[in-house]
Symmetry: C2
Subunit: 145 residues, 2 copies
Amino acid sequence: MSFRPDPRLDADTVFIADGPLSQLRLMDDARFPWLVLVPRVPNATEWIDLDGASQRLLLAEINQSGALLRQHFAPIDKLNIGALGNIVRQLHVHVVGRREGDAAWPGPVWGAGTRRSYGADAPQLASRLARALDALPAKTLPAAR
Amino acid sequence: MSFRPDPRLDADTVFIADGPLSQLRLMDDARFPWLVLVPRVPNATEWIDLDGASQRLLLAEINQSGALLRQHFAPIDKLNIGALGNIVRQLHVHVVGRREGDAAWPGPVWGAGTRRSYGADAPQLASRLARALDALPAKTLPAAR
């Protein structure tokens, strides 16, 4: 019944909150403001293989994650959004706040160097992010202009 | 009036077709089946800063690009979707077909090794992809199940 992310994802990330489609998790890597969305859809591996409503829901959650990063980790110079899954096949989407000169700049964060854990601060940071998420003004996609 | 991608994108890619929102281009790298979508939206840098309708249109174009890769470059083991833009800020989304054991496997393609051009075959491949795109059964997001 209860959703569990792939053990490798589980080991590298900390639970923040359950969104409408996905579990939102914090990558436990203090080098980058880095969120991971894991849709609670059994056996999903590709975003484009989700049904249309779920695809759009995931996109809305990416919007929310980006807003959360910008609000909580300002300043963010660039967002990086990635759905790779070459190693962990369970569908998951990375939303990463990048700063010029960060540990992987201007390359991608995936596979770059060695993760640096938040250590004992991780659960507290995840709790603060959960509260900040609740306080975000809009939870859905902006309407078409 | 006429849209032009950033000169660095332009130099590394070949025009395939204009979709409803984005220009679809082939990354001129024979190591990977690799498409790039460049929304024709002035000054856009982040997917989540597009208006909602454009965001969903881009998602539909990603669906189409993934279907094209699967059809034309079968077998594809995994799709990689990435919006990075750390170097070229103009909004562009990569849709890459990955195969186990390819030149960057299981790492990301971005920043991996040296691009290997299709050379004189590039325009012909782009034309074949444009025809295959026209022949794809569905051009939009699947309806919600």
